[in-house]
């Protein structure tokens, strides 16, 4: 995974002149990095407590794209259909398309059109993210209320509605990470466009003129 360059911020004091304004000496904005490197911070300060394994286990709820940290348990599409109707449909619609909250189903083949429909099926790159997000944040009114079996089941149902897995599928910690989402390779990083510093006889901004 490549990432955008992180600009070094070690320039501390500089003198900046403005053609129309006063020459100012910018005050020092020492970076956090430098503070961390100060003599007092070179060695451990001995602050903090050792957490119990129990606490780490309870708090460690994120699911990695390779399935690391997925719990035991399993859920079927059929089980998910019932849970979805009871717990999710009020916000996402009976078929996952009606809203008012995020549309979950459909939209394949629309991303490069003028009216893209971004859903779990058309847009999300990892199926594991669905488990992670449903467990941590859904439903909005009762986050973290679904059991592992229930989260697997709802995940299975949403993926089946998107025709990514068959209607008789059962998901667990082994099968879920193996699912390749349709938009898995749809992400890259692009830089923002730059403007031009024209001062006179420039192109007008108003498109009508």
């Amino acid at each position: 995974m490549s990432m955008p360059p992180v600009r070094s911020l070690t320039v501390i004091v500089s003198v900046i002149g403005f053609l129309s304004g006063p020459t100012v000496t910018a005050p020092s904005q020492e970076t956090a990095k430098e503070t961390a490197k100060s003599p007092g911070a070179q060695q451990r300060l001995g602050i903090g407590q050792t957490p119990t394994d129990e606490l780490i286990k309870a708090w460690n709820i994120d699911i990695a794209p390779d399935g690391t940290n997925l719990p035991s348990g399993a859920g079927s599409v059929a089980q998910g259909q019932k849970i979805f109707a009871d717990t999710c449909a009020a916000c996402h619609g009976e078929h996952g398309t009606e809203g008012p909250m995020d549309r979950l189903v459909g939209g394949r083949g629309t991303l490069d059109t003028k009216k893209p429909i971004m859903t779990v099926g058309s847009y999300w790159p990892y199926a594991t993210t669905l488990y992670d997000y449903i467990h941590r944040a859904m439903p909005l009114t009762a986050p973290q209320s679904l059991s592992a079996d229930q989260v697997y089941a709802v995940t299975a149902y949403i993926l089946s509605l998107n025709r990514i897995i068959p209607d008789d599928a059962v998901l667990d910690r082994n099968s879920l990470p193996k699912i390749k989402m349709p938009n898995r390779d749809g992400f890259e990083h692009t830089e923002a466009p730059r403007g031009a510093d024209c001062m006179t006889n420039c192109t007008p901004l108003d498109p009508q003129k």
Partner: protein, 429 residues
Amino acid sequence: MTKSRNGTAIDGYRRQFLKTAALGGVALGGAGLLAAKAPAAEGTEASSLIPPPMLVQGKPVASPPYGAPSEFERNVVRLANDRTPTPFSSWSFTPLQDLHGSITPNGLFYERNHNGVPAINPDHHGILIHGLVERPLLFSMDDLMKFPSISRIYFLECSGNSSSEFTKPSADIRWSHGLLSCAEWTGVPLAALLQEAGIRPEGKWILAEGADAAAMTRSIPIEKAMDDALIAFAQNGERLRAEQGYPVRLLLPGYEGNMSVKWLRRLKVGNAPFMTREETSKYTGLLPDGHSSQFNFVMEAKSVITRPAAGGTISGGPGLIQISGLAWSGSGKIKQVDVTVDGGRSWHLATLDVPILSKALTRFRMPWRWDGSPAIIASRVTDESGYVQPTREALLAARGPQFHYHYNAIAPWKIDAGGKVTNVYAAGA
């Protein structure tokens, strides 16, 4: 008694004030009082020209104990977004058009919450660091206070600020630019906490997780964590407001706002991005070819004129206007702001308020004598890296109308002959 005397005095004063102001030939304002010294005040009882607050005692100290804005500024408030399906995953806008200087008052700081504002008792809160570290550690709020802390001024801008401008430009600056604020933050460098835990060589990314009902999560590159990231517990001198992450939040200078995870409770070091919902299905920009740009961390240089601004009116007719606005860059300091009053044909250097700080809002100003004819005004910033704020046309050409996030184009405001100010690109402008 005092009350009735005050009431009578106010009535008399108001009458005289209006009279002198009217004779002075200007709209209600300070000039009316000055005009009262002219012959217009002739024959007026002297007492009715004395401001009533001078004739009665004011309020005692600490009224109220936590100070509030003047009763005459009660309309300066955040605007809640009432167009989202739920107010719990929603946002509120800073009233940039009513603010001065470059610091946002804490009560007016914009909000973006993903499932409501939690009430967290600091005595029951801690930050866990685990994953690819030498030793997992749990820091209570008291533990945090044992570290050397620093205070720095940084802006925060929502990744979706100005998202309206891609497809349905807003007629009002509150909607088009109000997800922007700036404060002095006090906290502990994240690098100091990580040093305590000891990052293993394979640790490249850090998952930051909030203790809210969204358990908001974002992946932070280790380079940023070790550079200028803060674990902030105070804002503008006081402890964080609940909606800003009380008791403690992450603060990533220059990065899109949602990455500065509020109500921070956990930092997990890993060897790759965690691919959370908020960095895959959200906060990624869809390009015209169907691909998406991911990990668009830095908020690019941007500026906007906040006075006069779209949605407002120039009162008092033609004459001297003090154009003022804000400029900022997630890459560093602002180098220069240019202002146009002829629709972009020519540009003029604006004056910049000091100090100019890296990744903080900078106030720019330019006086302008408006002749009363329709005009288009706009600002354009250049940051210290040489990056120049693009036009809307250039931005849309590069990223298309569905990108949704990181809209940083020049914002031209149209002023009509009546002084009404609108967004050039808004429907009906």
